[in-house]
């Protein structure tokens, strides 16, 4: 199979879309209320070392994805076990993202349409783009990040007449505890979720720019998340924001400039949809690559259809209701995600370093795999 590569710009777009996906829909760091901007900044800062860990692991084995590295470092058995764990994480995360968006659609726009329809579209289009390969992925992402940024920019310019700076005060009125809680929550969702990208974006045109593109992508997304979070609070007030499932959407629906420029919330659907789509599709891509490496298949494309359909089906089953989804996303998920995002990567880094020092022979073995 020909090695597919993407450019640095495309990797940045993908990473940014991935991090923005479903976070901008649900909002993040709600625990911190009006101090959420501090939480987001802390979470972003905290995620930088982990991003460096992820990219360090990747750059130790250029041209290989997470799963190939796992097998190289930990051997057949343990490697496959870890592979299964990460396949599960990517698969699960993908279906959570799909479900988030489907719930969004169902709640705000199409209450009578079955959840399954949105999920189905996500599945079909996700399968399509994953089959088309990472190059198409990168190019499409490049276009969509521009569309999204333009939409966000225009919408947020229209927000200015309606913001109330007092909503941000008092700074740290409730102390550090909720802020740190919020930071923890937004560290795990979305920043450190980039661990999934290790299975999707791993070979660039130039090797050395991997960490840079991850960080750039993360930085762009963090800035957007920060701006949107602060915007929500400035427009709606922290109290009201915390009572909403989808604060960004409601904030935009409050925009009113003159008689005609109002009720424009549907325009941000394109941002919500595209980011969630790229996130879930990247998860699907990672899961498929994992399965390929697990069963030593020649091409991951042969399992995309099955995995994609399973993923969408699973996302229909994963929660019973939107209430459950919210509880999970903001209260439980952070602990659930920790091993995948923090502990295992640390172990992999240590293992990889040891394996690298010991000599070259395991690497040769791997090239035959």
């Amino acid at each position: 199979m020909e090695k597919e590569t993407i450019s640095k710009g495309q990797a940045i777009s993908l990473a940014a879309l991935f991090v923005m996906g479903s976070t901008i829909t649900l909002g993040t760091a709600g625990q911190a209320k009006n101090d959420l901007w501090i939480s987001i900044i802390i979470a972003f800062a905290a995620s930088i070392p982990f991003i460096l860990i992820y990219t360090r692991i990747l750059s130790m084995f250029p041209g290989k994805d997470l799963f190939e590295i796992l097998e190289t470092v930990f051997g057949k058995l343990a490697g496959k076990l870890l592979t299964i764990i990460y396949i599960w994480y990517a698969f699960h995360l993908g279906s959570l993202v799909i479900r988030n968006f489907a719930e969004f659609v169902n709640t705000v726009s199409l209450p009578e349409t079955p959840l399954f329809i949105t999920v189905f579209f996500f599945g079909i289009f996700g399968i399509w783009i994953v089959k088309a390969g990472i190059e198409v992925f990168g190019r499409t992402a490049n276009l969509f990040i521009m569309i999204d940024l333009i939409v966000i920019l225009l919408v947020n310019l229209a927000v200015f007449p309606q913001i109330n700076p007092d909503f941000l005060k008092p700074v740290l009125g409730n102390g550090w505890a909720p802020v740190l809680q919020g930071a923890f929550s937004s560290f795990t969702f979305p920043f450190a979720e980039t661990v999934v990208l290790m299975g999707a974006i791993f070979s660039l045109n130039k090797k050395d720019s991997l960490a840079k593109s991850y960080l750039w992508g993360l930085g762009i997304a963090a800035a957007i998340i920060l701006i949107l979070g602060v915007r929500n609070v400035l427009m709606l007030g922290a109290n009201y924001v915390t009572s909403l499932y989808f604060p960004s959407y409601i904030a935009v629906s409050r925009i009113k400039i003159g008689e005609f420029l109002q009720r424009i919330e549907v325009t941000v659907d394109i941002v919500f949809l595209s980011t969630a789509f790229f996130k879930s599709s990247l998860c699907l891509l990672t899961a498929c690559r994992g399965i390929k490496s697990l069963f030593n298949l020649s091409d991951y494309r042969s399992v995309v259809l099955q995995t994609g359909l399973l993923m969408s089906t699973f996302s229909c089953l994963v929660y019973k209701s939107i209430m459950e989804m919210r509880e999970w996303a903001f209260e439980i998920y952070q602990y659930y995600a920790l091993p995948f995002q923090v502990f295992l990567p640390a172990i992999i880094l240590v293992g990889a370093t040891i394996r690298k020092r010991r000599g070259k022979e395991p690497e040769e073995k791997c090239t035959t795999v």
Binding site: T107, V108, S109, L110, P111, E112, T113, P114, I117, F120, I124, D166, K169, P170, G173, L236, G237, N239, Y240, S243, I250, S253, R254, K256, R263
Partner: protein, 385 residues
């Protein structure tokens, strides 16, 4: 991709869509567009009586828009809204509603219960104006008023949004109301609508505000006072100030148009659990009318006029704050919130007893006025040289 696969894919998509039908597909002419609603207490139960103003559109080349009023009862708001189908035949469509009128009778019992559905439902929009009716039943407003435009509710929305150049009623949208309700140290203030009979016709009149404590109505402020309340809240965008000025024993009235106003609310910490508020009002006005012959344009006159304006503004604001402190004990100005923003730790000690301490709160008002222009004429009219 082979042609067989494309065919298969097309089949799947077609089948899925045909089987699915169109769940949320809703033709515009198959719904009744609600322009506004009035909520009253149902006398016979603890439910509500919902009166909706529905836009009637008659199609054709010369389309005509008129309104129709329907009344339904229900245990909850949602119940009442759905019961409306039995009367109107079509589902009500809420997204374009412009006003919720709540009777003062109901408001006294609390309006949080009513608002919840409006905020929660995805078909309604929470950026609709809440209005309290001074008439006994809110229904009367929709029923009896003669409208100038075709739709009363739209008219009311215009009235409220044009208050910017009148400043005799506050505006309050549902989500803002909820925000205030949930916040600490601030109470809602909602505009009031009444019927006024002119030439035998009852007309809408939006004037004054309803003061709430939590979500319960406690009293009204009339339109002239609202202006000064808005000054204290830094929500003045326009309006007039009428000042009396004496020159050579002759009394003249000067109408000043407010161009700009900026109020700084500065909390001052007096003790660990005591604070005071300093209000600094800065207003830019223009001489819009001189009823009389007083020369307020020359330097001396301007100085005098400024002094008078500042003094009367200060007096009026102080009076209205006192009145609200004494009569309603409801912090509609949000002074508590300002204190919380500035002195969070002191606030922790004051929050419990804020209702009482608000009544005792010391508010210092200082005003500064600047006369920017005198419209088109450079001097007052002089009678017969």
């Amino acid at each position: 991709m082979g042609i067989r696969r494309i065919f298969f894919f097309a089949c799947v998509v077609l089948l899925a869509s045909i089987l699915s039908g169109c769940w949320n597909y809703r033709e515009i002419d198959q719904v009744n567009i609600v322009a506004g609603i009035a909520v009253d207490k149902d006398e016979n139960s603890d439910g509500y009586e919902l009166t909706a103003e529905i836009v009637e559109v008659s199609g054709g080349k010369d389309a005509k828009i008129s309104s129709e009023i329907i009344s339904v009862k229900g245990d909850t708001m949602f119940d009442a809204a759905r019961n409306a189908i039995a009367i109107s035949g079509k589902r009500l469509y809420w997204s374009h509603a412009k006003a919720i009128i709540i009777s003062s009778e109901q408001a006294k019992e609390g309006i949080g219960k009513i608002i919840d559905w409006y905020n929660r439902d995805s078909e309604t929009r929470a950026d609709v104006n809440i209005i309290i009716s001074r008439t006994k039943k809110a229904k009367d407003i929709l029923d009896k008023a003669a409208s100038i435009q075709e739709i009363l509710s739209f008219e009311m929305e215009d009235m409220i949004s044009n208050q910017a150049s009148l400043s005799k009623a506050p505006s309050q949208e549902v989500w803002q109301f909820l925000n205030i309700l949930e916040a600490e140290g601030v109470m809602p203030l909602i505009p009031v609508v009444d019927l006024r009979t002119i030439n035998g016709k009852s007309n809408l009149d939006i004037d004054g505000g309803a003061v709430f404590r939590k979500d319960k109505l406690v009293g009204f402020i009339d339109g002239e006072d609202i202006k000064y309340v808005l000054f204290a809240m830094d929500r003045i965008k326009g309006g007039l100030l009428i000042e009396n000025i004496e020159e050579n024993g002759e009394e003249s009235k000067v109408s000043l148009e407010i161009f700009e106003s900026d109020t700084k609310v500065r909390p001052v910490k007096l003790a660990e659990n005591k604070a005071a508020i300093k209000l600094e009002v800065e207003v830019v006005v223009a001489v819009g009318e001189i009823k009389g012959y007083a020369d307020v344009i020359n330097e001396e006159g301007r100085k005098k006029l400024r002094g008078i304006t500042e003094a009367s503004l200060k007096k009026n604001i102080e009076t209205v704050i006192k009145k609200i402190q004494k009569e309603y004990k409801s912090d509609i100005f949000g002074f508590g919130e300002k204190i919380r923003e500035k002195f969070p730790s002191a606030w922790e000690k004051m929050r419990k007893d804020w209702e009482n301490s608000f009544g005792e709160l010391e508010v210092q008002v200082s005003c500064k006025a600047r006369i920017e222009n005198s419209a088109m004429a450079a001097r007052p009219v002089k009678a017969g040289g």
